[in-house]
């Protein structure tokens, strides 16, 4: 069941168009990630949904009712800020209680709810702590407890892990996912980190300079990127120009590294995406790519090698255990075009 509808929203700040005709929906109990590079308009979108900014064009609906005339404090949405924006003059208890007080909950119930919330985020004894003494991870949890306490109809999280170090981030994103799904909380999660989005989201809205590039599940987006931008954003950088011609035996694609048969609805000039993660380091695949091995960047579980193929440098990922030849030597990799190639019209 769809709860929130973003209906062709546009917003400009001065001469910069922050959002341009953005539309998507959020379903009951779903975690939707807004993913995109910084400056793509995702935080602006949150401000619009929260009611902190007003859209130039378009409307936002909740359960079919327009939110246009509802001020932020009556929307019953929660927002967890980047850097958390905890109230520095209040202790942990008062921070978490704030939303409950605003809802005029009575004190006994507030006490009870705060105990619940603090144990939910794993900090049951933190009631009386000064928020200025909390570590980054603790602040993050308290901010989550504060946002969740008044039972928001929709929780929005704006880069909630952005300011934390990598290890902590990887741990907290899993915790966050657990807490949100346990509470069956409808949520919008803004991030620029694809891995975070993949872990936490049921669906992803991928954005680029104010526009929606693709909407889909993490699997759909990763396996079927809708545009060269999406592919590049997901670190699939092998995008090369090619030409498809209809010939007797089917469609043939002409590329820098040779020609081969391909299934495609397109003809003429196209761009080919060659998935870096689906190549073999031998010539046993249907399509061979020959070039010179130029170097490697080691990424832990995998290593990404650079292969110079005529004018282009392509990247391919192999397990880190793979033995690599000497730099500068010839190298051949092979791929299956059915799975490893996607075609974008040029």
């Amino acid at each position: 069941m769809k709860l929130l509808s973003i209906n062709h929203i546009s917003k400009a700040f001065g001469s910069t168009q922050a959002l341009n005709d953005v539309a998507f929906e959020v379903n009951q109990g779903e975690i939707l990630a807004l993913l995109g590079p910084s400056g793509c308009g995702k935080s602006t979108l949150l401000s619009l949904i929260a009611g902190l900014e007003i859209p130039d064009k378009g409307e936002i609906y909740w359960n079919g009712v327009s939110l246009a005339n509802i001020p932020p404090h009556l929307r019953k949405f929660g927002l967890m800020f980047q850097d958390f924006a905890l109230f520095p003059h209040m202790n942990v208890y008062a921070n978490v209680a704030f939303g409950l007080k605003m809802a005029r909950m009575d004190n006994a119930k507030i006490d009870q709810r705060i105990i619940e919330m603090l144990s939910l985020v794993g900090l049951p004894d933190f009631s009386n702590r000064d928020v200025n003494t909390l570590s980054g991870g603790e602040q993050q949890r308290i901010a989550l407890a504060r946002a969740l306490a008044p039972h928001p109809r929709l929780l929005m999280l704006d880069e909630p892990l952005g300011s934390l170090d990598r290890n902590l981030r990887e741990r907290l994103v899993v915790d966050l996912q657990n807490i949100l799904s346990r509470m069956n909380q409808t949520a919008i999660y803004v991030t620029h980190d694809q891995e975070e989005a993949f872990v936490i989201a049921d669906r992803i809205v991928l954005m680029n300079i104010g526009k929606v590039e693709q909407i889909g599940t993490p699997q759909e987006i990763y396996n079927y990127p809708a545009s060269p931008f999406v592919a590049r954003f997901l670190e699939m950088t092998n995008i090369i120009p090619a030409n498809i011609q209809n010939q007797a035996g089917g469609k043939i694609v002409f590329t820098d590294f040779g020609k081969f048969i391909i299934k495609s609805e397109f003809e003429g000039k196209v761009e080919l995406l060659i998935r870096p993660d689906l190549a073999r380091l031998d010539d046993t695949g249907p399509v061979k790519i020959k070039g010179y091995y130029r170097g490697v960047s080691f990424r832990g579980s995998r290593q990404r090698i650079s292969l110079q193929v005529n004018r282009f440098t392509m990247a391919f990922d192999f397990p880190s255990i793979t033995v690599l030849p000497e730099i500068g030597s010839e190298m051949t990799v092979s791929i299956n075009p059915e799975t490893a190639i996607r075609i974008f019209p040029a």
Binding site: G14, A50, L52, I54, P71, P72, H73, L74, K76, F77, G78, L79, F81, Q82, D83, A85, L86, F87, P88, H89, F98, G99, M102, A103, N132, R146, A147, P150
Partner: protein, 570 residues
């Protein structure tokens, strides 16, 4: 240089400033003390007991507090909306507006008093306008000699403190904290009440207390705009000294004043430290917004209009009134038509019989300039070594002690300083009564802490490595000073000099007690002229005020241009 050597050279640097403070601050203040304690037959504490028994100190103290509280509240009421505007929004003409609103604070008291007189006094624009309009013979609005006049002038003076301190703090406050409150269900007012105001509290309290201190020690405004009915401690000290010659009572009042101002100053520093909450402050690039909605534009318009009205209109009224003639000069047969005239300025150079001093008022300009130049030289001579010492050694107890000591003259009211000079420096061993140095010495006392405050950060900003580099290239310490330090602090030196010069030009409190009648400064001349009847005297007072305003405004402009960092300390 070893450590021992070093501390000796720092002590040497303190020699002149310390001697100056001892002779011209502590000695006069001590004389006030002894005057109020020892007076003989009736016993040691006689003057104090006498004073306490009489009703004067309590009545005066009560009124001083009362008007200061009212003025502070009014100033906050006007200043806080302005602070909100400056702290939140970027709009065209903002920096100009900010500069304009800063002008009143640095205007000499006498200029402010004259400005309000030109706007709302019996011969001011509003009254002559109303008289013309309604065909009245007398001024319908009684402004001068009312409490309202005092309050309005104080608001005029101090609003900029609230605008700057609170506005600046507000502009760095992370807007997301407010948004977080809104998202948790707080409406506009609840978010302001429970989240924003508590966070602003230190800034508001600090500015309020500072405003209170200025209102508490206000002198010229109350003397001229309040008239004979209203006396704060400052004014009462002046009356008791000048009119009634009751020096013991004046001394007791001075002590009371001193105790209050020092107490308030200590409270101020404590409060700032106690109330400060560690805040993640944001760059204003993140926090500033534009005026977009119609509502915010309207509100901004109202705020800007009222600020301009309160802060700028009186000064405009002053300069305009000083070139406007409304009635013919006394003794002239022909009725010259009302209109623009430079007569008031010309008359400043005429030694008319109506003139109060035995010289034309223009003499005051020359005297003031002479005093101001002397003050500037003295303040720099004393402030330079003090600032150097403070910057070279910022950790020792000696430095901390001197640092605090330097602020004492600023925390002491000007009239008290003047009284101290009268009491202490009119008899051997230091008889300066007839010396032309007396006034510049008093001005230096006020100006040289400002010089130190301006020069110390400049000295500190020079990295030791630069001096070391000069030394390794063969420069002696003297050469290092000449070719490295002085060129690098040049701008600050100029700012400090301009400060000292302007302070001296506008100083009224101490000067009013110690200036010799035949050597009036510009503020003294304005005071005399404005207390006398007649269009010519009035016009000349306004003309002289306008000249002072332009000089002070020019000096502020120079300071503003030369200053490197942000707003300095008040």
């Amino acid at each position: 240089m070893n450590k021992h050597h070093r501390s000796i050279s720092i002590l040497l640097l303190w020699l002149a400033p310390a001697a100056f403070l001892l002779l011209f601050y502590f000695y006069p203040l001590g004389s006030i003390f002894s005057l109020s304690f020892s007076r003989s037959q009736a016993g040691f504490f006689a003057p104090i007991i006498e004073a306490i028994k009489s009703s004067i100190p309590w009545r005066v103290l009560g009124f001083t507090f009362w008007q200061a509280i009212l003025s502070t509240l009014l100033t906050l009421a006007i200043g806080l909306p302005g602070a909100y505007l400056f702290g939140h929004f970027n709009f065209r003409g903002k920096s100009l507006l900010q500069a304009l609103t800063g002008i009143p604070f640095l205007m000499p008291t006498l200029v402010v008093a004259a400005a309000f007189n030109a706007l709302l006094g019996p011969g001011g624009w509003v009254n002559i306008g109303l008289m013309k309009l309604l065909n009245l013979n007398n001024a319908p609005i009684q402004f001068v000699n009312t409490l309202t006049a005092i309050l309005v002038a104080h608001v005029f003076y101090n609003t900029t403190i609230v605008l700057r301190t609170v506005g600046d703090f507000w502009s760095h406050l992370d807007p997301r904290i407010n948004q977080a409150a809104r998202m948790l269900g707080a409406n506009r007012w609840q978010a302001l009440r429970w989240v924003v105001l508590p966070l602003l509290a230190p800034a508001i309290a600090a500015s309020a207390l500072l405003v209170f201190i200025f209102d508490f020690t206000s002198f010229g405004v109350i003397l001229i705009l309040g008239g004979p009915h209203f006396a704060t401690l400052e004014v009462e000290i002046y009356y008791q000294t000048i009119s009634l010659f009751n020096l013991p009572l004046a001394a007791v009042l001075s002590l009371l004043q001193l105790a209050c101002t020092l107490g308030l100053t200590v409270l101020y520093t404590r409060l700032i430290r106690r109330l400060s909450i560690p805040l993640p402050l944001k760059s204003t690039r993140v926090t500033y917004r534009r005026l977009t909605t119609r509502r915010s534009k309207l509100a901004a318009g109202v705020i800007i209009f009222s600020l301009l009205t309160i802060l700028i209109v009186p000064l405009a009224a002053l300069s305009l009134r000083s070139v406007t003639r409304l009635e013919p000069n006394r003794g002239e047969q022909t009725v010259s038509s009302p209109g623009l005239t430079l007569d008031f300025y010309r008359n400043l150079w005429v030694n008319s019989t109506a003139s109060i001093s035995y010289a034309p008022p223009s003499t005051a300009i020359i005297i003031s300039l002479g005093y101001a130049i002397t003050t500037t030289v003295l303040a720099l001579l004393l402030g330079f070594p003090a600032a150097l010492a403070l910057s070279r050694d910022s950790t020792s107890h000696l430095s901390h002690a001197f640092d605090a000591l330097l602020m004492l003259p600023l925390g002491t009211s000007a009239v008290t300083l003047g009284l101290g000079f009268i009491v202490a420096l009119d008899k051997p061993p230091l008889d300066l009564r007839s010396s032309l140095l007396l006034v510049p010495l008093a001005h230096t006392l006020v100006a040289f802490p400002f010089v130190v405050r301006n020069l110390t950060p400049a000295f500190r900003s020079i990295q030791p490595r630069i001096r070391q580099a000069a030394a390794t290239l063969g420069a002696s310490p003297g050469k290092v000073m000449r070719y490295v330090d002085i060129p690098m602090i040049g701008r600050s030196l100029l700012v400090a000099a301009t400060f000292a010069f302007t302070i001296s030009l506008g100083e009224f409190g101490a000067t009013s007690l110690i200036a010799r009648p035949e050597y009036p400064t510009i503020p003294i001349a304005i005071y005399r002229l404005i207390s006398r009847p007649g269009e010519s005297n009035y016009g000349q007072a306004l003309a002289l005020s306008t000249i002072l305003m332009i000089v002070a405004g020019g000096a502020m402009f120079i300071i503003d241009r030369l200053r490197i960092g942000e707003i300095g300390e008040f």
